[in-house]
Amino acid sequence: MNPPLVHLLASRIAAAILTLGFVSVAVFVGTEILPGDVAQTLLGQSATPEAVAGLRAALHLDQPAYIRYFRWLGRLLTGDPGRSLVNNLPVAELISSRLPNSLILASVTALVCVPVALVLGVTSAIWRGRIYDRVANFLTMSVVAVPEFLIATLLVIIFAVHLRWFPALSYAAGIVSLDQFFRLFALPVLTLSCVMIAQMMRMTRAAVIDTLRSSYVEMAVLKGARPMRVVLTHALPNAIGPIANAVALSLSYLLGGAIVVEIIFNYPGLARLLVDAVSTRDMPLVQACAMIYCTAYLFLAMLADVASVLSNPRLRY
């Protein structure tokens, strides 16, 4: 540990709290601006003004906004994220049943994607301009260009409907074997990978190639380093900052953006919970999801910045 890093971490944690506060206000204001409220969504098509008013009163929605916000905030500070306005279940319970799912999906995908993307990025930087590079870029760009729902649906049609290798739905409680785990996660992970790999791979490639222009890379060549070594030990360490940030951005997508995958594979994760909560204007739930997402994002961003600082001694000392 060195002083700038300690300083970085400390100021980051302080800033994170402020950021979370900012996000909570923004989310609250957002839910307020959005037309309609829980009462209306709960009543759906049968929402008549009196019915809405009645339900609204029952849910304390008739109180002024700031009071509701501070009441929520007060409870949150005591560690209670409140209850869902929609089904009156504790938010903590709703989240805790979903968060692990999201984390599992995210980590499995990350474990698959990040290494693949980095390897692809680095190797295509090494063999830039060659057939390998062109094919790798062509493939990743083509898959990222296809809408996610199309990829997911296509995979299901091929691998679940026709070949029957994998199930079309990925949710199962109580996974017993590794084989089952693999089968359940194969398609969602593949789909997410298609979306994610491109960004990481392309940024890795670009950042690495960019550093290859430097004189120290020239010097490495003159030391007899082969292209692989030049890239791995000379270009890559200097490209870690942008790469780490691209990875952090992609990974943050896994938690909050896996909505399409969660919908198509009927996987109960956080993204769908959040989207549901937004549609139903379930403020405490939206807040909780946004907080979790924000925390995760800030954490990833911090890791990326730490990696960035660690990789650049000029920033470190």
């Binding site: 009543l43 098509q45 049968s46 079309a168 739905l169 009927n266």
Partner: protein
């Protein structure tokens, strides 16, 4: 068909995928708002009555329902052999509690309007309940067949687990995820239910739902879009199941706003609807041509003699000229929330081009459509579910003071006919009155009903016992106690 020929087999597990799934999923009957909720509710609860394939009322928890004083006071006798899942017997208190709850705004009941007529709900004995209505209503037993009116335990407030009298007990329920229902071995209907377990969840994405059925991950799905029907009917080991019902997706013109306030304009639009084309292109023929009035051919009071309004651009042009709106542009609000609204609007737009009338389609989010956009614009769309009776169909959506009179239609003659018909007991007279009302709506109301859409469900071929009940798909959401697996 064959389902009848065979004796139902016991045992087996079934996974059912419906169309909705969100944290708003509920086990509290009054709060149900979609097919998923209704299907769960019927799995765990019973109503006093149900509605059968022939659109007729059948007693369920009630042993006897008798009207008196011209259908203003109703006496209900309950079955004595019914127990809740927690073992407690069904009593009149449960019924009184269940029915009264609807009137409490805090419950957020979807049928508060219907419950409002029940002025007094009292237990007159351990198994007797008396209901006093504010006006005569011969259709009250039908109303009790509504999913929202299912009977819960007296005093129940915690609906994390269902405690009903229904064919299955609730083993697990997670809003937005799934529910698992296991056989209620003490179900009061002998021999039923057949399955050991039903897992129910929603897959909102239609292609995903269809794929789940095709891949064998689920055995029963609802809400198949007409464009997927072909895939299912041609696939091996799965079958398509069509329920003809009076559901319609209507284009509504508000009669109190320009341009709908001009009857010629309304008629022009009605003539511009190419119903054949809509039926073919949008519904792939899984629909019945509509005639701008809400009573569909499955309804006993459907008036077949009413002439079908044709697609006639000349007439439309004529009315348009008369309305003076020719050459103008009007927005149509569409939304994914109102099914097929986008497609129908686009076909209308095309027709409009040919007679010099421009429609500008404005798509708004499904999110919040019903509360923020619906009925707030001159031209918009509605999705209307089938109503168990002609009376309800008219009362809820067409009566001048109806809460969901979407086109703001006011017609005194229609209102008085409606009241008359409600208390009329002579079937042929009633038919006549309903016929006249159908004509009135067709010719004057701002609601344009191009077709009545069928409900399309799909199931694994070895899943048996499905019959079509014209109140909704999935046997009017009441499949749980009837389906079984053939091995």
């Amino acid at each position: 068909e064959t389902a009848y020929a065979q004796a139902p087999r016991r045992g087996g597990k079934v996974k059912v995928a419906t169309t909705n799934n969100s944290t708003a999923d509920t086990l509290d009957p009054p709060k149900g708002i979609n097919q998923t909720d209704y299907s769960r509710i019927t799995t765990f609860y019973n109503g006093l009555t149900t509605i059968n394939e022939a659109f007729a009322v059948q007693l369920d928890l009630a042993e006897e329902i008798t009207p008196s004083e011209r259908a203003t006071v109703w006496n209900i006798k309950l079955r004595r052999d019914v127990r809740f899942h927690d073992g407690s017997p069904l009593t009149s208190a449960d019924v009184v509690y269940s029915l009264s709850r609807h009137k409490d705004p805090a419950v957020g009941s979807g049928v508060r309007v219907l419950a409002a007529q029940m002025q007094e709900i009292v237990a007159t004995g351990p198994h007797e309940v008396r209901i006093l209505l504010d006006a005569p209503n011969a259709d009250l037993p039908v109303i009790f067949g509504e999913w929202h009116f299912m009977i819960v335990k007296d005093g129940a407030t915690d609906f994390r687990v269902a405690n009903g009298t229904g064919p299955y007990k609730c083993k697990e329920f997670r809003p937005g995820v799934r529910s698992i229902a296991v056989r209620n071995s003490e179900y009061f209907k002998p021999g039923k239910p057949y399955l050991d377990e039903i897992e129910l969840f929603g897959i909102p994405d239609e292609p995903a739902r269809v794929n789940a059925l095709l891949s064998g991950d689920v055995q029963l799905i609802s809400g198949i879009s007409p464009s997927s029907a072909q895939r299912i009917s041609s696939a091996p080991k799965v079958s398509l199941f069509e329920t003809r019902a009076g559901a319609y997706h209507d284009l509504d013109l508000r009669l109190d706003l320009t341009p709908g306030s001009n009857l010629d304009f309304v008629l022009a639009v009605k003539h511009m609807l190419n119903r054949e084309q809509i039926r073919r292109a949008v519904y792939r023929n899984y629909a019945v041509i509509g005639n701008d009035q809400p009573i569909d051919p499955t309804n006993p009071f459907y008036d077949a003699s009413l002439p079908q309004r044709p697609f006639d651009l000349d007439k439309a042009r004529f009315h348009l000229q008369r309305s003076g709106f020719a050459g103008q542009t009007f927005p149509i609000v569409v939304s994914p929330a109102a099914f097929n609204s986008e497609d129908i609007a686009q076909l209308l737009q095309q027709a409009g081009r040919q007679i010099n009338l421009n429609f500008e389609i404005r798509r708004v989010p499904a999110d919040g459509y019903w509360s923020n956009e619906w009925r707030k614009h001159p031209i918009f769309f509605t999705s209307t579910t089938p109503k168990p009776t002609a009376d309800l169909a008219f009362t809820l959506n067409y009566k001048s003071d109806a809460a969901y009179n979407v086109s703001a239609w006011r017609n005194e003659r229609f209102d008085s006919l409606l009241l008359e018909a409600r208390s009329e007991t002579d079937i042929s007279k009633r038919r006549e009155m309903y016929g006249a009302m159908q004509r009135l709506v067709r010719d004057n109301c701002g609601v344009c009903i191009p077709v009545f859409a069928s409900y399309l469900d799909g199931h694994a071929s070895h899943l048996k016992g499905l019959r079509s009940i014209p109140t909704y798909g999935l046997m009017g959401c009441n499949f749980a106690e009837s389906i079984w697996l053939d091995q």
